[in-house]
């Protein structure tokens, strides 16, 4: 914004355009009137100029009227529409005239406007192309003023074209001026006084439009580099065109001079010939008649010949051939004249015969012939040269005449372009600036309606003007005119800093500004003395300088920031609370910028923990606290992140002392002072991690040991498996042989054997069979230890019922009462648990064999959350002091002949229960019965 560079408004420019418009319209109208009334004075307007053509007069009238309308109405819309219409008409007229000239149309446009009055006048030739072109230009110029034309183009176009018009108008005037001052040859453009009226019209119109544009404040002279260059080159081109035109015109003139020169030479030669012929004729007549009067004037003729010869020598001074011929001719002429004189003297002195005799020598005739031949040569040469010069003159003339309009047109174009450039500098912004500056009232309104208070004071501190906001802010109504002067303010208000420090009057904002201090965001408290009215204002202001840099005014701006301040304070208070949460958090915390990764805030714990000071932290980025090798994964992580969810991740961080710590990070995205950032809570898990590592290490070792031990066990198991496999096949095979063949003997040879023998064989068979059972039991027992458990849900009640039903062999011929109470559903290996029940139930049945009525009770109880199953019977029982032997392999508390058995059954029970993580025990009273209990870990109570 540079106010000084913008031209001040020029009101006279519109007056000028009005005058120009009216004058042109009068010019055209007057001429038209002249044509209609056949008044020659009116037709030409300017004395001495030729009559203004009706065609031109109409255009002048239209354009002048349009311009006047535009300038009088400040370019209101109707005027602009009118201008557009004028533009179209004039363009059409110009176009038609051009058509007449170039395309040979015979329109006689002039007659359209004056009708029959022109009768008798010779047919009017079409307009000159220049004038017609000017019509088109004017048409465009006016059309550009219409609302139809784009504002972007209309202004440069109008400006350029009007300058071109001015130029065209000036040309004939300049030509006339030059002609008047320096003579005819200086009228380079061939303009004459007849075109004066037209020129004046163009000049008026062009300058009028320029003035109009200027008055509309659309035209701004902006002499930038480009426009200057364009302008200068335009002027140079004009000068160049003028120079070329001048040269050619000069050459044309020179050629014309030459042409007359040649003709003069030819004339002289002919004169010489005539004179000499006269002299010879006189001599002849005198010889025949002998009368002296025929010799009268002879002396004069002779001197004329001599004079002509001298002239010829001068005239042909530039032609050596002619000079040479003259040199030959001169003695010949002398001799011939002398001979004539001799013949005349002979006639006069010796009479006719001697003269005839002298003539009869033919000396004179031969001299004449030679002389005439030379003269003829000279004449021929001059004619030849004349023909050549004529040809050259035509060429030069044609060139000169074609160059002139071309040069003019070129210059005009370039000038128009230069002006277009000139005006292209008028940007939208400049329009706005102008609009802002152009109307001071508008500015006043803006200031008046600002929300910010504005007070204007003079350099002595007198308050000149308050805007409405300023009045309101100070609690004044607009009618309290005289109260808002400085002394009154000092008495009414007290200004203090936000801390409550009261300012002396010389420190008040205006006083500071008057000391040439620029105020900006000066926050002060304004208190009305004697009341509780108090506001907080944001003061600003500066001195205003005029163009010369001298201060003229002081401006104070006031904004009420009371509410904002109070809100700020509240925010600050709540911020303070949260800051405490952040600052005094025992865990390190920080906030970092998501884009730059730089730290935005760190808390005390972070400073303590990492060893960096807060200042150092704030100068670092996240990368600086990460070990270098972690940076790629950090960047990876950041590029993936973006979820706003809180996440917990583990990282390694670097402390100031170079030590590396393991941390667990919980972070959350937030906006920190308007920047996308992340709040991070750090939990140092270095020790935790170390302990974890140790545990992991120990676990690893333990696992290795377990694996080792398992491998050992597995290999032992394998051996055992192979052993039992072998036992089950190979150990049983011989037993089968023993038993089988004993049987065969009994069957085939039984009758032949004594009873004793048969009994022995039976004993062999019993032994073999018992051993088979023993082997089976042992194998079962070993398999129980070996096989993996296949646990599933087992309904114990059902299993007991099924098992009991299957145990047929013991039931035969016996009364057995089985009471089944509540039994749990458990999780265990069904095959093994079934074996448990088989063994316990068959045991109970076996040892109740001697009872009339066997009573077996199965049930469960719940103790300490674990279900205990039991099987009790009313059998023989056992002595509790041997209870500890009960579950050993091959341990028996009864003799085989009393109760058969291998002593493996209860061992199997114990093994299965133990493998399920349970416990088995027994209680008994000898002779009364026994109860076997077992628990299974994880057994669930059924009910």
């Amino acid at each position: 914004m540079n106010a000084d560079r913008l031209p001040r408004p020029a009101p006279y420019s519109r007056v000028f355009s009005q005058i120009a418009g009216i004058a042109t319209a009068l010019l055209g109208g007057g001429a038209l009137l002249g044509w209609w009334s056949n008044n020659e004075g009116l037709k030409s307007i300017v004395p001495g100029s030729s009559a203004l053509r009706p065609n031109i007069a109409v255009v002048m009238l239209l354009c002048g009227g349009g311009l006047a309308f535009l300038s009088l109405t400040r370019s209101a819309k109707p005027a602009r529409l009118c201008a557009g219409l004028v533009g179209i008409i004039v363009m059409v007229l110009g176009g038609l005239s051009l058509g007449e000239h170039f395309l040979g149309w015979n329109l006689e446009i002039d007659r359209w406007f004056i009708g029959p009055q022109i009768n008798g006048t010779s047919r009017m030739p079409p307009l000159t192309p220049t004038t017609a072109l000017c019509f088109v230009v004017m048409g465009i110029l006016f059309f550009a003023q219409s609302p139809l034309a784009s504002r972007r183009w209309s202004l440069p176009l109008a400006a350029g074209l009007s300058v071109a018009l001015v130029f065209v108008g000036l040309l004939p005037l300049a030509g006339l001026l030059l002609e008047t001052l320096f003579g005819r040859q200086w009228n380079l453009m061939g303009m004459n006084v007849s075109a004066l009226t037209v020129s004046a019209g163009f000049l008026l119109l062009g300058s009028g439009v320029l003035a109009l544009l200027q008055s509309q404040r659309q035209l701004v002279w902006s002499l930038g580099g480009f426009t200057t260059a364009g302008f200068v080159s335009g002027i140079l081109l004009v000068v160049l065109a003028a120079a070329v035109a001048f040269t050619y015109t000069k050459r044309m003139l020179e050629t014309t001079t030459w042409l007359s020169h040649r003709q003069e030479v030819i004339q002289k030669v002919q004169e010489v010939m005539t004179d000499i012929t006269d002299l010879i004729s006189q001599q002849r007549v005198y010889v025949i008649l002998g009368e002296e009067e025929f010799l009268n004037g002879r002396e004069q003729t002779r001197s004329e010949v001599a004079k002509d010869l001298i002239d010829l020598r001068k005239l042909t001074a530039d032609n050596p051939n002619q000079q040479r011929r003259l040199t030959q001719l001169e003695p010949l002429i002398g001799q011939r004249i002398d001979w004539d004189e001799q013949v005349i003297a002979a006639r006069r002195d010796q009479g006719f015969p001697s003269a005839v005799q002298m003539i009869g020598t033919r000396q004179g005739i031969s001299l004449s012939a030679e002389m005439t031949g030379l003269l003829q040569e000279m004449e021929d040469e001059e004619y030849r040269l004349l023909a050549m010069d004529r040809k050259q003159a035509r060429t030069v003339t044609i060139t000169a005449f074609s160059l002139l309009p071309l040069g003019v047109f070129l210059s005009l174009t370039i000038l128009s372009l230069g002006l277009s450039f000139l005006n292209a500098g008028v940007t939208e912004q400049k329009h706005a600036q102008k609009a802002l500056r152009g109307n001071e009232a508008q500015l006043q309104t803006i200031v008046e309606n600002l929300d910010e208070g504005v007070i204007v004071a003079d350099l002595d501190g007198r308050l000149l003007q308050w805007n409405r906001a300023a009045l309101q802010l100070h609690g004044y109504s607009s009618s309290e005119q005289d109260r808002r002067h400085f002394p009154e303010l000092v008495d009414t208000f007290e200004i203090s800093t936000l801390d409550g420090l009261v300012l002396p009057v010389e420190e008040w904002p205006l006083a500071q500004i008057l000391r040439d201090k620029k105020l900006h965001n000066l926050e002060l408290r304004l208190h009305r003395i004697g009341s509780d009215w108090e506001r907080i204002f944001d003061y600003g202001g500066t001195l205003v300088h005029d163009e010369t840099g001298r201060p003229v005014l002081a401006i104070v701006t006031v904004a009420d920031i009371t509410e904002r301040k109070l809100a700020d304070e509240r925010v600050r208070a709540s911020e303070g609370r949260y800051r405490t949460l952040f600052e005094s958090n025992p865990n390190p915390m920080w906030v970092y910028d998501l884009e730059t990764l730089s730290f935005l805030a760190v808390n005390v714990a972070a400073v303590r923990h990492y060893g960096f000071t807060e200042k150092e932290f704030l100068a670092m980025t996240l990368k600086d606290i990460r070990p270098a090798e972690d940076i790629p994964s950090l960047m990876d992580n950041l590029s993936q992140a973006g979820s706003e969810l809180d996440e917990t991740t583990e990282w390694r961080h670097r402390k100031k002392d170079g030590g590396s710590i393991d941390v667990e990070i919980t972070s959350h995205e937030l906006l920190w002072l308007g920047r996308p950032a992340r709040l991070v809570l750090i939990n140092d898990i270095t020790d935790h991690k170390r302990a974890e590592d140790q545990i992991r290490q120990l676990n690893l070792e333990l696992e290795e040991r377990v694996q080792h031990r398992t491998a050992e066990l597995e290999s032992a198991n394998k051996e055992l498996e192979a052993f039992s496999y072998s036992v089950s096949h190979d150990l049983r095979s011989p037993l089968r042989t023993v038993d089988g063949f004993s049987q065969a003997v009994l069957e085939d040879f039984g009758p032949q054997l004594p009873d004793e023998g048969r009994r022995y064989l039976q004993t062999i068979r019993d032994g073999a069979q018992r051993m088979g059972v023993l082997i089976d039991d042992l194998l079962t027992f070993s398999r129980l230890s070996r096989l993996p458990l296949h646990k599933e849900n087992v309904d114990m009640g059902r299993m007991v019922r099924d098992t009991f039903a299957e145990l047929d062999s013991e039931k035969q011929g016996r009364k057995i009462e089985l009471k089944i109470g509540d039994l749990p559903k458990v999780h265990g290996d069904p095959a093994l648990l079934k074996q448990v029940w088989i063994n316990l139930l068959s045991n109970a049945m076996k040892y109740t064999r001697k009872r009339e009525m066997a009573v077996i009770e199965v049930g469960s109880s719940r103790e300490n959350g674990a279900a205990t199953c039991f099987v009790s019977d009313n059998g023989t029982g056992f002595d509790m002091q041997y209870a500890h032997k009960l579950f050993g392999v091959f341990q028996r508390l009864h003799r085989t002949d009393e109760f058969e058995g291998t002593g493996v059954g209860l061992a199997i029970v114990q093994r299965v229960i133990h493998r399920h993580g349970g416990r088995v025990w027994a209680e008994a009273t000898e002779g009364k019965g026994a109860t076997f209990y077992f628990t299974l870990e994880g057994a669930k109570q059924k009910v």
Binding site: S728, H729, R732, S733, R736, F741, Q743, G772, L779, R783
Partner: protein
């Protein structure tokens, strides 16, 4: 038993005592005719697939049932079972495993290979005889062609 060439039972057993007892049991059940005995797995296979000593025999001609011990020299019973059940020509022949082993492993594997019945030879010979008789009859009756009835 009209076809004299047709082998009814292939008994694969290496222990001579067990073999004798088995034959005795089969005899007692009147099943002793057309019994082919193999003393090891290799011999059993030669017979079954008409190789070696049994070259020229028609594979289609039997046996109708195979009584197979698992613990055999050269080629064990499990391998014989695998071959029988994987060859389309012999797949249809019922196989009864007759063994002293009650090992779970053996039982499971046998059934996986497609054994038709699994009998544990008891020490008690009477039960052994009963088992052999029951099984033999069952399978032979099941496979009896109608024309042979009577």
């Amino acid at each position: 038993m009209s076809d004299n060439n047709a082998v009814e039972i292939l008994l694969v057993e290496d222990t001579p005592e067990d073999l004798e007892l088995a034959l005795r049991a089969l005899r007692k059940a009147n099943l002793a005719n057309h019994i082919q005995i193999a003393r090891d797995g290799a011999e059993a296979m030669e017979f079954l697939f008409a190789e070696g000593a049994h070259k020229g025999r028609k594979i289609e001609n039997g046996p109708k049932v195979i009584l197979l011990d698992l613990k055999l020299p050269k080629v064990d019973g499990m391998e014989v079972l695998r071959r029988v059940k994987s060859d389309p020509r012999t797949r249809a022949i019922p196989v009864v495993v007759l063994t002293s082993s009650k090992e779970q492993k053996d039982v499971v594997e046998s059934y996986q290979l497609g054994v038709n019945s699994y009998i544990v030879k008891p020490v008690n010979f009477e039960r052994f005889v009963a088992a052999v008789q029951d099984l033999g009859m069952y399978w032979l009756l099941l496979n009896q062609p109608p024309k042979l009835d009577g």
